[in-house]
């Protein structure tokens, strides 16, 4: 790029219909906007990517991480809307980008952001306290049917992924739990270890420490197939030894949370392509593989058509649950 003048650069950012330059590269420091508070899963996701991009010199500009976790992440997505067409803002989220507008009246729509890529899938498992009598998902569901509305089921946030999954379990099996929302996965993990709730649906990483200590125990994972092989974690068992929920007769084939990267709507295709390539290089790095291994997430690099289809499917399925629960705003 020959344009160095700051003023011109700012003007350039607004001109989305510039004659197609084959190559786009950032001209200002990048803002990585994270749709969660510091220390959350999305925050770690964004900061890991930032560190790989910096260390491996994939992007040669400073990258500033901004946490905008207000309103379950809506703050970050509104920020994207306010900065429509600015290619120097990259937004990190989950499926909350397209699910939030369905359950709360917010001043943004999913169309105000365009997806760049999904990089990983976080799995969901049913966890119970280590000394609980339930050995399979079936046992837990039978117990809930015996005492409808009595067994407290912990989860993070309200009408978010956890409550949606619990609702889905209820709709599939006819069991009735008492859902109690907490602030985050870590907190729910401790509440389970302390026996204040009967079960939770934490991501692997959120309960790992408690499992290592033998305080909680996984029943099954909501994935089409078992998770990847790993070192044994507790009592000689690793992630691969956990049966899928389908194996245990709980007819939910798959429930996963994508870790996604977005840019504001109106950003030129060249810039999207630039980020897509950069993120591709991230997923090829050893550090990224370490991150996936440490957090027990499943790597998945989805872009373009494939990503659009995934989002459409995931949105349709979840909205069905919202409708049945009466959560959707309309």
């Amino acid at each position: 790029m020959t344009l160095r003048n700051i003023g011109t650069v700012a003007a350039l950012a607004l001109l989305t219909a510039l004659p197609a330059a084959a190559e786009w590269a950032p001209e200002r420091p990048l803002e990585f906007v994270v749709a969660s508070g510091a220390g959350g899963g999305t925050d770690n996701f964004a900061r890991t990517i930032q560190s790989i991009l910096t260390k491996d010199k994939i992007i040669d500009r400073p990258m500033v991480v901004l946490n905008k976790g207000g309103g379950s992440g809506a703050e970050a997505f509104l920020y994207a809307k306010q900065n429509a067409g600015d290619p120097h803002k990259v937004i990190f989220g989950t499926n909350n980008v397209y699910l939030l507008p369905h359950i709360a009246k917010l001043a943004y729509k999913a169309e105000d952001l365009q997806p760049v890529a999904a990089l990983a899938m976080d799995e969901f498992l049913i966890w119970v306290k280590a000394d609980a009598p339930y050995q399979t998902a079936g046992d837990l569901i039978e117990a809930a049917k015996a005492e409808p509305g009595k067994l407290p089921f912990g989860g993070s946030q309200s009408k978010d992924t956890d409550e949606t999954l619990v609702a889905l379990i209820e709709q599939t099996t006819g069991a009735d739990f008492k859902y109690v929302p907490f602030n985050g996965g870590g907190e729910v993990g401790v509440q389970l270890a302390g026996g204040h709730v009967v079960a939770n649906v934490n991501n692997p990483n959120e309960n790992l420490g408690q499992w290592q200590a033998g305080a909680v125990r996984p029943l099954c994972v909501f994935a089409p197939q078992r998770m990847a092989e790993s070192e044994p974690i507790h009592d000689g068992k690793g992630w691969h030894d956990i049966p899928t929920c389908k194996e245990q007769g709980l007819e939910i084939e798959s429930y996963q949370m994508p870790r996604t990267v977005w840019v504001p709507a109106g950003v030129p295709e060249e810039a999207v392509a630039f980020y897509r390539d950069a993120l591709k290089q991230v997923t090829d790095s050893q550090e990224w593989k370490d991150y996936l291994g440490k957090t027990s997430q499943t790597g998945a690099f989805l872009t373009g058509e494939e990503l659009q289809t995934f989002i459409a499917n995931s949105e349709a399925k979840t909205v069905e649950v919202f409708k049945a629960e009466g959560w959707s705003g309309e």
């Binding site: 901004l66 602030n183 870590g186 200590a213």
Partner: protein, 501 residues
Amino acid sequence: MGNFDLLIHGFGIAITPMHLMLMVVGVLLGLVVGVLPGLGAPNGVSLLIPLTFTLDPTSAIILLSSMYWGALFGGSTTSILFNIPGEPSSVATTFDGYPMARAGQSTRALTLAFMSAGIGALLGVIVITLLAGWASNFALRFGAPEYFAVYFLAFAAFIGMGSAAPVKTVVSLATGLLLASVGMDNVTGEVRLTFGFSDLLGGISFLVVVIGLFGIGELLATVQEGLSFRGVSSRIDLRDVLRTIAELPRYWATSVRSGLVGIWMGITPGGPTAASFMSYGIARQSSRKGKPFGTGRPEGIIAPETADHSAGTCAMLPMLALGVPSSATAAVMMGGLMIWGLTPGPMLFATKPDFVWGLIASMYISNVVGVILVLLTVPMFAALLRIPFAIIGPMIVAICFVGGYTVSSASFDLWLVLVFGLVGYLFTRLDYPLAPLVLSMVLGHKAENAFHQSMILSDGSLSVFFSNPLVGSIMTLALALLILPKLLHLGGRLRRRQPVE
């Protein structure tokens, strides 16, 4: 190996030239972010995390935690000198620290604050050393009702002492609760009181409000009183520092009590801010003679500072052992921990003893380093008061607005700083206490969540707050703190009245 052997092993890891240097750098950086209101320890630590990727986890956590201690020290400096709390947890230090500085004893106030902070931190680390195994089990017993009871206790300890007119305290408290409920409610997922402003979606930041209330509010009051800065310059003398250190043993009871409050609030997730308020409240209640609190009582500085630091130190324990951070800064550090590939939880102590005990040992050393560094810089800070108001006034305005902006980089917050500056000014003029408002803004949301969760668990029955000995005793203690002072007061008045009748 017992805890003591592990600790010695930890010292072996912590005392290397590299680690000692990291401690000094960390404490100094922390002092800078602590002195600037708004740019607090959580922001500072999160800015530093990317730089730690190249360090090994033990060095990284030593750097980050030293920065935290530095920020805690720095936060009290501006509280005392300018009545602007640099950190939320040093709000309570303004109540007596600022009047003492105004009375020409700024060196004494600062020395008291730093020394008590150091003592608090040491008490906290000793407790961590002793309780590393036991505390994590204890914290597991805390469910939603227990959390609510702890927050209720903090409220009660504060209300019970109420020196202002009760109605005014209630108004202030309720205003805080109202402000705390703006934004998205975690339990129901509903957006509340945003009036369609997307800027309010994330809620009103407590720090922004505090900067406005204390910083701008104080400045307006100063301007009204004739443009002279209300701090009186003092002679800077090393002997002042030493004399103050010599008077510390006299307040041992306050120190120990405040240390215990801090340890309690640090292990149970009350956090340093609640700890400092609670400790201040208790110190105020238990003092009988001498000039009233709020006019520069030494105990009024010692109590919040000791509790603040012992809670800040102890907050590391639930973070490491349970993955439950009981302060915002601990939450950020936990994020760092995960990036370094360490999983917080009970097993961390067993699987990574070098990391855990290296950190604990470093906490002893870096707090000593911190106290020495801040004491050396006391004269520098106290000299700030000699600068004429015409120079320092505009600087404070700039610091307040920069600080307000850094909290979440939102220009909307600048308006909030201004609005709350006016609110702070009016409250002060009309004798409404500011502290209850601040306390309920900090704890309101957490208390509400815990209450709501308890109600879901118990199907709406209040008996859940007396359902086991733990929660029952915390609630009883809280109710006692709330009611007893008023009853005693009433009883005293009746007795005095009888002879007349």
